[in-house]
Amino acid sequence: MSILVNKNTKVIVQGFTGREGSFHSSQCLEYGTKIVAGVTPNKGGEKHLDVPVFNTVKEAVKATKATTSLIFVPPRFVADAIMEAASAGIELAVVITEGAPVKDIQMAKDYATKNGMKILGPNCPGIITPKECKIGIMPGNIFKKGAIGVISKSGTLTYEVSHQVAQVGLGVSTAVGIGGDPIIGLSFKDLLLMFENDDETKAMVLIGEIGGDLEIQAAKFIKEHISKPVVAFIAGQTAPKGKRMGHAGAIISGSSGSAKQKMDALKKAGVKVVVSPADIGKAIKKALK
């Protein structure tokens, strides 16, 4: 078992024939991901990477029964791509693109929710179930198969954590990037619940950062609904106020969104919060004992 995606997941790629889309799609295919179609308007009927290309998501879904879409389109077309996927009956959209306007994502997420489509991202590395499928831009070889569920706002920290997990002799059930934007699709608590209900997952790692309050929402949720051990790290403990730290959403505004608030809330909820990012792997090993 795993969450959201497995070896049978049929994937389409929106923005398939572009530079980023081509490079990462070929990496995903190599990993074993079932990419069954690509969508690029005006290129319908062609083949790219040996995969059929369609003009619209609707046509692609109709022909292939795909349930998941990996989105690489440029920022200004992201909302349109998400809504097209939702209207075509896609169940999960994984949005890699960084730099989409906040207003667009607000609208697209609202529409996706009404149509029962889940979103990962935007501005995320994607999702991987080791040895089964990789839908995103992460280097597949770092991820060993195992029982740890990883949820992270950051791409490279996801790699760092999964690497530490492997070094202590453990592995990952599914690793999910949720993205570093002010408004994102699935959040920590949604994914924590999925991991809680996944038989294969024995413990979870939550990697948060400054800005917003998703980690605080997660803390409340863990207290009430999660029985498996959770280890957390919050990046930006030493970040200054009012400065955007790389991610659009990583900003402490006024007195809210600081790392300390989030760490305190998580500790109160019984989460093992590590101060040093180098201690995550060790903490997971300990939590499993």
Binding site: V102, P139, N141, T156, P240, A278
Partner: protein, 388 residues
């Protein structure tokens, strides 16, 4: 992106949101003529810098005569203003805004921002206008009223009435207040704002609502569809190094420590600052080289880090994914040829092509290059090197 008060007011005017009559002045010789054209007997002169807390710092002054207008402008233009938000280095005032003074009946605070928890815009208002809203939020949180607006229906009159009644606005004023708030919401949505704040919004003795101040932040990601707004960028207001870094695809924020950092990914870059602090040191900067880092961007990164004279060591922390470690290693080697790096450089490479990268560095035999085996080891070595 933030814009100046006078630019915000121009936007307000275009949307028929009432503001006092005013004009921008860059030379005090123009002050008297400008004040005459504005009219009235009382003027307010306001320093145009991107910072709050101008009033307390002497950047907002009242003049009761034309001579006073000129004197204040003369003193203010070219001066350095240090507010509680500018930091000790302050900001040079290049422009002042002269505005007609108004007689105030009462003051309010009103703002619109994104409520990230609700994922929709929220109107924040208070009857305590003019003062620091953060303080009120702490001492009297019940005096701050928040109403989230679902963009699917947009701002409706009932939102405005609810705000008005909660603020205890006299009932005859409510229709005008509702209209004011409605326009404000329209601007927020139309212009892809991150924040609009009016502090204070005043009711004048003549019976009008006027925006006495205006602050606005815009969503950088949406500027492509607002060419007119994008032109309002004031380069003087931006940190030069940060903007320069951005042009090379680097995300840089200067900090106060002495361990320079070069990292791929924003999350890992923050975590690197944190682990330096955990190892009893302090980061000199945040620097994310991004997903497309090439040898030349790495070289540029070194150059930018080294412009900060506090930097005593550099920690290069790369977890290769899309960014290949051999490429980073080549960047470091190129940088050592082109940039005079006199401080120790601690390098930790992991992930894609890490072994090739490490070998490249070892074979190059560079004297002040220290290889670290992991995140913790790297942080410790970088902190130790900075102390030597």
């Amino acid at each position: 992106m933030n814009i100046h008060e006078y630019q915000v007011k121009k936007i307000f005017e275009e949307y028929n949101l009432p503001i006092p009559k005013g004009h921008i002045v860059t030379n005090y010789h123009d002050a008297i003529d400008t004040a005459i054209s504005i009219g009235g007997k009382m003027w307010v002169i306001k320093a145009q810098i991107h910072s709050g807390g101008r009033g307390l710092a002497g950047g907002v002054k009242l003049a009761r005569s034309l001579k006073e207008v000129e004197n204040i402008c003369k003193a203010m233009i070219g001066s350095k203003l240090i507010t509680n938000q500018t930091g000790p280095e302050g900001k040079i005032v290049e422009k002042v805004y002269i505005e007609r003074g108004v007689k105030i009946k009462y003051e309010l605070y009103i703002a619109i921002a994104l409520d990230r928890a609700k994922e929709m815009p929220v109107i924040i208002a208070s009857g305590e206008g003019g003062v620091e809203i953060e303080k009120t939020a702490k001492t009297n949180p019940e005096k701050i009223i928040k109403i989230a607006i679902d963009p699917t229906i947009g701002f409706q009159d009932f939102h405005g009435r609810e705000l008005g009644f909660k603020l205890n606005i006299p009932k005859d004023d409510i229709p005008r207040f509702v209209n004011f708030a409605k326009i404000l919401y329209e601007i927020y949505m139309q212009d892809d704002a991150e924040l609009i704040e009016i502090n204070p919004l005043v009711k004048t003795k003549n019976g009008n609502y006027l925006a006495l101040d205006g602050k606005m932040g815009l969503d950088d990601s949406a500027l492509y569809r607002h060419k007119d707004l994008a032109e309002l960028r004031d380069k003087h207001e931006e940190n030069n190094i940060e903007s320069e870094a951005k042009e090379y695809g680097l995300s840089y924020v200067k900090l106060d420590g002495n361990v320079g950092c070069m990292v791929n990914g924003a999350g890992l870059a923050m975590a690197t600052m944190d682990i330096i602090s955990y190892s009893k040191g302090m980061a000199a900067n945040f620097l994310d080289v991004g997903g497309g880092a090439s040898a030349s961007t790495v070289a540029k990164g070194f150059e930018i880090i080294l412009r900060d004279k506090n930097v005593k060591s550099i920690f290069v922390n790369i977890f290769g994914g899309i960014v290949r470690c051999d490429r980073i290693a080549n960047g470091i080697l190129e940088a050592t040829k082109n940039v005079d790096i006199q401080v120790p450089v601690v390098v930790r490479l992991d992930g894609t092509n890490a072994k090739i990268g490490s070998k490249l560095l070892k074979d190059a035999n560079i004297s002040n290059l220290i290889v670290a085996t992991n995140l913790e080891d790297g942080a410790k070595k970088a902190v130790a090197a900075a102390k030597e």
